[in-house]
């Protein structure tokens, strides 16, 4: 009896809801949702899922500014596809998988055509299947874990050097400078561990140097005396820190305090003005593997001036890559002559010699840069300057 009554009510409610909503667009009965409803008119939307909250938020801002700079330039020049404007849809990833998925889905729902975001590798990985299913190409400006490539998805393009390429750059510099013993330290995040293991592998294969120590620390702590002790015991000529600047600064500081006499090198995640602030005087002379930043690129003064005029602050890490990602997206859309994902992917694969900050672009078969564009920076007077362009 009771159950019958329940089910009649249920059916009644369901029917009522159906009746009232069947006219709405975007519902299940209205085809494939609102995703492609404005595919042929209005602005062309680009998704940018980057860290807006959390500890990587400053980098997110650099990226967003870089992208907006490109969008303004392109729109001023008449947009894409005969006058359609570009529009940036920004979503927060907060370096967290769940938030990233939410933001990616939101972007897909907003009807984006290309994704030009992706900073934390751990938060970018779960975005891949979402954009892939929606047939949306991804031009990833910052995240560069090898795992992104290893999935073999045809919509994923990396315009930052991969962990592998960064490791190669590190090895080149090690050989060039004649270091014979190296300690590798990561912070146990996806990106950092990737570079650590890859560098260790390449050093061993190469054989000109030995890995004296390869270890991990836990991010977010203050006291790194354990790893400092290990390094002092291993006594390498070079310490390569592959994590982010917060812990990097502490480790450099504590190493110097402990009287470490060797050299220190950091990976691109630690290339941030705060590094030398946290590390104090000990940061002087620290090396870094990094893709070109506007500061280190010759002839980028105009660009920097534009950026500063628009945003009132100097560009930071990944401003250029984000800028390039948007330009590249526009180029590919123009080339494809449509907002269709497959055609854009085809266009991206066909691009040859597109000028970017990192040099002329041509994608490898696995959709990475043919050359990583990594250079070696060093800290002089608290600022990163070009040490060696490895050419």
């Amino acid at each position: 009896m009771k159950i019958k009554r329940h089910s009649t009510v249920l059916i009644g409610i369901a029917a009522a809801v159906l009746l009232t909503t069947s006219g709405c667009s975007g519902g299940l009965l209205a085809g494939d949702g609102g995703a492609s409803s404005d595919a042929d008119a209005g602005p062309v939307k680009l998704a940018m899922v980057i860290p807006i909250s959390g500890s990587s938020a400053p980098t997110g801002e650099y990226m967003q500014n870089g992208a907006n700079l490109a969008i303004d330039e392109i729109n001023k020049d008449g947009g894409v596809l005969d006058g359609r404007k570009l529009e940036l849809i920004v979503g927060d990833e907060a370096c967290d998988a769940q938030q990233a998925v939410a933001s990616a889905n939101k972007a897909v729902s907003a009807g984006v055509v290309v994704s030009v975001g992706g900073y934390c590798s751990g938060a970018t990985l779960p975005q891949l299947p979402i954009f892939e299913k929606a047939g949306i190409p991804m031009i990833i400006p910052a995240a560069n874990s090898q795992d992104l490539v290893n999935q073999g998805l045809k919509n994923v393009f990396l315009i930052n050097g991969t962990g592998k390429q960064q490791s190669t750059a590190a090895l080149d510099f090690i050989k060039k400078s004649g270091f014979t013993t190296v300690a590798l330290v990561d912070d146990n995040t996806s990106y950092s561990k990737d570079i650590n293991t890859e560098t260790a592998k390449q050093i061993e294969e190469d054989g000109s140097a030995t890995v004296a120590l390869s270890t991990s620390v836990t991010a977010g702590e203050s006291d790194y005396s354990a790893v400092v002790r290990d390094i002092m015991n291993a006594n390498p000529e070079l310490v390569y820190w592959t994590g982010y600047y917060q812990e990097g600064g502490l480790i450099i500081n504590q190493l110097k305090k402990a009287g470490f006499a060797g050299q220190i090198m950091v990976a691109d995640g630690s290339v941030d003005p705060s590094l030398s602030e946290i590390a104090g005087a000990g940061a002087e002379g620290v090396f870094a593997t990094m893709t070109q930043t506007p500061d280190t690129i010759e002839g980028a003064e105009d660009w920097i001036a534009n950026y500063e005029e628009k945003f009132g602050s100097a560009p930071g890490p990944y401003s250029t890559q984000s800028y390039d990602a948007v330009r590249l997206a526009a180029e590919a859309i123009e080339e494809a002559g449509s907002t269709d994902g497959d055609k854009i992917i085809e266009a991206l694969e066909g691009i040859d010699g597109f000028e970017m900050f990192s040099g002329p672009l041509k994608f490898t078969p696995e959709h990475t840069l043919s050359s990583g564009g990594f250079v070696i920076l060093s800290i002089q007077d608290g600022k990163f300057v070009l040490e060696d362009d490895l050419s």
Partner: protein, 296 residues
Amino acid sequence: MQLIWDGLFVGSFYALIALGYSMVYGIIKLLNFAHGDLYMLGAFIGFAVLSSLGGIPASLSIGALLVVLLLSMLLTGTAGVLIERFAYRPLRGAPRLAVLITAVGVSFSLEYGISAIAGPNPRSFPIRLEGEVFNLIGARVSLPQIVLMIIAGLLMIGLNGYIQNTSTGRAMRSIALDRNASLLMGINVNAVITRTFFIGSALAGAAGVMAGAYYGKIDFLMGFIIGLKAFTAAVIGGIGNIKGAMLGGLVLGFVEAFGAQWFGGQWRDVFAFAVLILFLTLRPTGILGERVTERV
């Protein structure tokens, strides 16, 4: 040797924070979940004080540090008192669950309050203790480390003297034994609890400033893990026991240093928490604690 020294140094931080945990627990049987965040608060207060003072010549850094230390202790202590007054006192006598949840709420409010004010990014501390590194029977020891350990030691000795020799100290001990009886004996229980919170929070604040000055980086979540560690230290020593908290801090420092050596640095926290769980299940009264039978 290096291991022992490193353990001792980190342990003295744990001990300072564990003291507050232990005192508060001993007196009102409240596990002040937000205690670690008072350490964070202390560091940020120190940061704010220093920033507002503007540039300080590096030569004055030890003296300036002491002034900032005292100021931060005062302010953090006051914050602790306010928290007790407005969040915990109304719940005295309420179910333990309610109080614990409130403490979680306080912890959250402090963390994200600071995050909203000072921003989510780590800040670098304006003054930095730099100093000579020298060898002491096989361990690398730096001058700042010694200075900080002396400060920590003095604070702990001072506290111990205070509790053993003053009337407030005696009142604290008597409340820890039996609150109702103390009330009957004419002790102003509320005043003593207020004072306890002040002292405990001030010590945590001192540890925060010292950590800021030594490590150079502070952020709004820095109190979370260290709060857990301090609690572990308090339990190891015997919660509610002042000397136990000091001992527990040092023991935990050692245990961690050795654990990290054997299992690798990334397992250090796992090791520390495993020690906590072992102690709680096998010897919940800690090294120095006495057996207490709970009456029905």
